[in-house]
């Protein structure tokens, strides 16, 4: 009998070939009246244009949200969103939050227990009791 083939789809490895930034959109909501939005308003006027120019792969959306706290929301390629309320923050602190959103993937935050995460099997091989010299008892 000739060999039959099973169906399988290849798995992407972001960064091995091309790197695609996972943050695809950042939404900025500000308010002209609320005092908590003072830092945000200054951020939008002074720091945001340079940041947006440095990141052409992110879609930036700035819109007013009257009588609400200022908000930054990151939209990610896996469909998830991360909103961060930036009430009463200074512009530099808001920039830190924005950089946090840019660097995140959309995944939920998980505790990593092991030092290495990989899809490749072990490099030196998994130990087997049936190979090698055995154990002297």
């Amino acid at each position: 009998m000739t060999i039959r083939a099973l169906t399988q789809v290849s798995t992407g490895r972001n960064g091995v070939g091309a790197f695609v930034l996972q943050c695809k959109k950042l939404e900025f909501h500000y308010c002209d009246w609320a005092g908590s939005s003072k830092g945000m308003n200054i951020f939008i006027k002074t720091l945001l244009p340079k940041f947006a120019a440095e990141h052409p792969q992110i879609e930036f959306n700035v819109s007013p949200r009257p009588a609400k706290h200022p908000l930054v929301t990151g939209h990610y390629i896996n469909g998830h969103q991360k909103p961060i309320c930036v009430r009463n923050l200074e512009p530099t602190a808001i920039l830190q939050k924005v950089k946090l959103l840019r660097d995140a993937s959309g995944e939920k935050l998980k505790r990593v227990h092991k030092p290495v995460t990989s899809i490749n099997p072990s490099v030196r091989g998994v130990w087997s009791p049936y190979h090698g010299n055995g154990m002297a008892v």
């Binding site: 009998m1 000739t2 060999i3 039959r4 083939a5 099973l6 169906t7 399988q8 789809v9 290849s10 798995t11 992407g12 490895r13 972001n14 091995v16 070939g17 091309a18 695609v20 930034l21 695809k24 959109k25 052409p56 792969q57 992110i58 879609e59 930036f60 959306n61 390629i77 899809i119 009791p129 049936y130 190979h131």
Partner: protein, 435 residues
């Protein structure tokens, strides 16, 4: 004379020829003749140069062709000028690190599926065809050079795994491409526009239709490997147009008419709209796959062969596919014996290397298959037969998955200027054809 605005021309590289523009205008006229209250026919052109019916460059006709239609929702897809103002499109262009040579209007065109806009000058069908050819070429040469002994079925399965509809759909999603709910002229040009209402136009595939195609379908005759190499497409699938597979728009309409006659119900456009079943899912996946192919086609057309090859290596060939998990054997011990006979090896002998727990409920037998003094394959199993079969499969996989190396030169590298002398690639005699 009105000053020609050169800055409006810089983005529009693929200029339609005058005869095609005439067809475009005729189609546009026919589609929009129902609206009599408009004082002019809105014209879409791919370039700001004068259209065919207005061949005399007069001021009024020039001004008319530059006017944007009053109601963009009249058009099936957004006009190319709107591509310059879409944030989604600009971000997609930068996210893929596309070269500046690729205009944003072409990227907007790659997002328009044939089911959204039938006009081939404004949809991605032609770019998708070019892209499909380029992708299939580079993926197949990568597989054949890197795994020269791969059986034909496995080659086709790996082609499907790297360059088929399913992985291309995943690639499109990984690029952050969203789709419009309903296509139209008013949607954001950065959204993928397609509809699952009608199948649209299918891509031309390289292959031949067999004369006995009807009988093959009806009596489920077997298609042999050599036969499929000659007749079928790059993925080993037949290029016949059968109900349920990729169909032309004409056939889909015929089928719809038959269904109408059968059901004999009032046709309400929105009541019987299908949503969320297997066929709509497959149409959506196909639209995403055509988009990826169209992007590759656009890169090839604007930036050249080497850039397209690098793009494919970065986005498609960088993905991982475990080829050893694609194999499915029927009689591995017989195949291995035939292989050893063909290659003039000593006949394969299975030997028990180690075992434990023979009388218990969880025995482990480690069996190695030897040809003379050389071990061809080894495996562990819960019974002697199981272990022997697995060892034979491992031996066959070790043979078929032979690779001359990871960084091996592919034939398309010789097309570049100043390429080094070509070392002959290893070409295998072929797989074992068992009786």
């Amino acid at each position: 004379m009105k000053r020609l605005r050169v800055d409006r021309w810089t983005g529009q590289l693929l200029v339609a020829r005058s005869s095609q523009r005439g067809c475009c205008l005729a189609a546009g006229g026919a589609l929009r003749s129902a609206r009599s209250d408009q004082h002019y026919i809105p014209v879409r052109s791919q370039s700001t140069a004068v259209s065919y019916p207005f061949s005399e460059a007069t001021e009024t006709s020039f001004a008319t062709t530059l006017q944007v239609p009053q109601d963009p929702s009249e058009l099936p897809s957004p006009i190319p000028e709107r591509a310059l103002h879409s944030a989604k499109l600009a971000s997609l262009h930068a996210r893929l690190s596309l070269p500046k040579k690729l205009p944003i209007q072409t990227l907007a065109r790659t997002l328009v599926d044939a089911s959204a806009d039938e006009n081939p000058q404004f949809n991605n069908i032609n770019l998708a065809f070019v892209g499909q050819t380029v992708i299939n070429y580079h993926v197949s040469e990568y597989l054949m050079i890197r795994y020269p002994r791969l059986p034909m079925e496995i080659v086709w399965a790996s082609m499907r795994g790297f360059a088929g509809i399913a992985p291309l759909f995943q690639i499109a999603r990984s690029w952050g491409v969203e789709s419009a709910s309903v296509p139209g002229g008013e949607v954001d040009p950065g959204l993928l526009q397609f509809t699952t209402e009608k199948p649209g136009v299918s891509l031309t595939k390289f292959g031949y239709r067999r004369t006995e195609a009807m009988y093959l379908e009806k009596y489920k005759w077997r298609r042999g490997i050599s036969n499929r190499v000659v007749f079928d497409d790059d993925f080993g699938e037949s290029v016949d147009v059968t109900p349920g597979s990729e169909q032309t728009a004409h056939e889909a309409e015929m089928r719809k008419k038959e269904r109408k006659e059968d059901e004999d119900e009032e046709e309400n456009e929105y009541s019987m709209r299908r949503y969320g079943d297997d066929e709509t899912r497959s149409l959506a996946e196909k639209a995403h796959a055509h988009f990826v192919r169209a992007v590759v086609g656009a890169v090839y057309m604007h930036c050249g062969r080497d850039t397209a090859h690098n793009f494919i290596k970065a986005h498609i060939l960088s993905r991982t596919l475990g080829l050893s998990s694609l194999f499915s054997f029927k009689k591995p011990t017989m195949e291995l014996a035939l292989l050893c006979d063909r290659e003039d090896f000593d006949p394969p002998v299975a030997r028990l290397l180690s075992e434990t727990g023979r009388q218990s409920r969880t025995p482990v037998f480690v069996v190695g298959i030897f040809s003379g003094k050389d071990k061809l394959g080894e495996a562990a199993g819960p019974s002697l037969d199981h272990a022997r079969l697995k060892a034979a499969m491992n031996a066959l996989k070790a043979w078929y998955l032979y690779s001359p190396g990871e960084h091996i030169r592919v034939p398309s590298e010789m097309l570049a200027d100043g390429a080094k002398k070509w070392d002959p690639a290893y070409i295998d005699i072929g797989e074992i054809i068992s009786r």
